[in-house]
């Protein structure tokens, strides 16, 4: 069976490759910081389960120190020029899309096959993690096809991958750190305090105000935590269950499902949701780090109002 440990190992080897190539990159004045950063990521993926909790904690502090004090530089591995790319693009034509489609095609067909055909009964993949395994298989297959077809230099995938990973930089690790922050908040009892405080400020008897505090609280706490998953249990325990469901007899399905979606509106508005809002800004070379968030405000705010009203209209019929 393809286990998560094996998948982490494959990704870990990739980051180890980024680290080694970074260390050798004399063009980058900060090459050692880059090598250390991607090396720590590799260590986490390859040996995280053997480091122990405190060891992993020190590893994260190392990543945070390098990334947080802006020590990372940008490697500029040799790649093709714009003119060369235009020439290749004209020469290869639309066939160039085919290798790009291998990854989504393998992930899509594979996931469906595991779910709906006898293939799923063979136990090839760790349950619930099939798509991740298939994503990696798709990437490896796409690499094979590209090597057979275009014969790039052997180091090209890692060098080109390093070009992209350096353009993302520390933002790549932030989502995992936010998940860790959520765990510390939970251990410190932050959720209980927030829930109790929210309950204390809501005037008794007004369903509408309670719904408003619940939905906007979901969005706001999601913005702080960067993740609706962290906010949901807090607001459900603080307001959703005791007030909306138990006191006002609202529908648990609506309050649960739409409440989570109100949280998703908050995800669109916060830099804490780094993988959705900061990583693409880096990937697309935006000058404004918060450009993606700005583009989302006019969608997120009306949607939050819609979700708030939806709960009020349908949960208390």
């Amino acid at each position: 069976m393809i286990s998560m440990t094996m998948l982490y190992a494959v990704v870990g080897v990739m980051f180890a490759g980024f680290a080694v190539l970074s260390a050798l990159d004399r063009q980058n004045p900060r090459r050692l910081a880059n090598a250390a950063f991607w090396g720590l990521m590799a260590l986490s993926l390859l040996a995280g389960d053997r480091l122990g909790d405190f060891g992993n904690g020190l590893l994260v502090l190392g990543l945070a120190g390098i990334g947080g004090f802006n020590l990372l530089g940008k490697g500029r591995p040799a790649t093709t020029s714009t003119t060369e790319r235009e020439t290749w693009s004209a020469k290869l034509g639309n066939r160039l899309f085919l290798p790009a489609l291998i990854i989504p095609a393998v992930a899509l067909v594979g996931t469906l096959a595991v779910a709906y055909t006898p293939l799923g009964t063979l136990g090839l993949f760790e349950p619930k993690r099939e798509t991740y395994a298939l994503l990696i298989l798709g990437a490896l297959l796409a690499l094979h096809v590209l090597f057979a077809w275009l014969r790039p230099p052997a180091s090209a995938p890692l060098q080109e991958g390093r070009r992209l990973v350096d353009s993302i930089g520390w933002a790549l690790v932030l989502p995992q750190m936010l998940a860790a922050l959520g765990a510390v908040f939970a251990a410190a009892g932050v959720g209980t305090v927030v829930g109790d405080t929210a309950r204390a400020v809501i005037p008794d008897g007004s369903i509408f105000v309670t719904v408003l505090v619940y939905a906007f609280g979901m969005a706001l706490f999601t913005m702080v935590m960067g993740n609706a998953f962290a906010a949901f249990p807090v607001l459900a325990a603080g307001i959703g269950v005791p007030l909306l469901i138990q006191q006002y007899h609202g529908s648990p399905a609506v309050i649960g499902a739409v409440g989570m979606l109100a949280g998703f509106c908050g995800t669109l508005l916060t830099p804490m949701a780094a993988n959705f809002n900061l990583v693409p800004a880096a990937l697309l070379d935006l000058k404004d780090r918060y450009g993606v968030i700005r583009a989302q405000v006019a969608t997120a705010v009306p949607l939050l109002l819609f979700n708030t009203l939806l709960i009020y209209w349908v949960a208390f019929r």
Binding site: L51, P157, V165, A179, F229, A253, V258
Partner: protein
């Protein structure tokens, strides 16, 4: 009750308002919150490290970077641009509205990881959206190009967030189920997933409408 840990939240908000480096903000907030709650330093670092390790699955999607980088080496972005130029009637807004629907529908049937910021937006969607805008309006002002790229990334996020909850096996549905089950409310995934549909439709109308409106704004920006 111990209110001191709330300073951690304040630290997060202040850190972002002052545009400090997010890595530092998150780390400082975690350490401060843990210590203010009375945990000993080793326990705080251990909690932080354990959760980081438990969430390594987030890092798996970066496996696509070498493939995307290699394809860019052979002109994938240039090809995406050329394809759009060859199409009649392709506009930035129509293209992004179409991508929104595609992303919502595939996410709704459980195919969240088949597209994304690294997999599709950088190599394909953003270059195509830029090409369509240039096709229609000529060379773009840098600020307008930045806006088009931001909209491409935003479209991916909106499509993903308001499509995936319709799929019953997604993590958020499981989390809602478990949270409410702890209080004695047993719900089937399907009962929750249907309530994601109205918001999905609203997201499609609001964001799709904004994308179609974007074409007019781009025209206005040129004149």
């Amino acid at each position: 009750m111990n209110y001191w840990p709330l300073l951690g939240i304040l630290l997060v908000v202040a850190g972002f308002a002052l545009r400090w480096n997010p890595m530092l903000v998150v780390t400082a907030a975690a350490l401060a919150t843990g210590l203010l709650a009375g945990l000993d330093p080793v326990a705080v670092v251990s909690t932080f490290g354990k959760a980081f390790n438990d969430n390594r699955i987030i890092a798996v999607v970066w496996i696509v970077l070498p493939v995307i980088g290699l394809l860019e080496r052979y002109g994938l972005q240039e090809r995406a641009t050329a394809l759009i130029r060859s199409m009649q009637g392709a506009t930035t807004g129509r293209l992004l509205a179409l991508y929104l629907v595609y992303r919502q529908v595939t996410a709704a049937v459980g195919l969240m990881s088949t597209a994304g910021q690294a997999q599709t937006v950088r190599p394909l969607v953003a270059p195509m959206a830029l090409a369509a805008a240039e096709q229609q309006w000529g060379p773009l002002d840098p600020a307008v190009a930045e806006r088009v790229k931001s909209m491409a990334a935003a479209t991916d996020n909106v499509g993903l967030f308001f499509g995936e909850d319709i799929f019953i096996a997604i993590g958020s549905i499981v989390l809602i189920q478990q949270t409410l089950a702890a209080d004695g409310y047993t719900l089937a995934p399907f009962e929750l997933a249907v309530w994601a549909i109205p918001s999905a439709v609203a997201a499609c109308l609001i964001h799709g409408g904004r994308m179609l409106w974007l074409d007019r704004r781009l025209g206005g920006a040129r004149r």
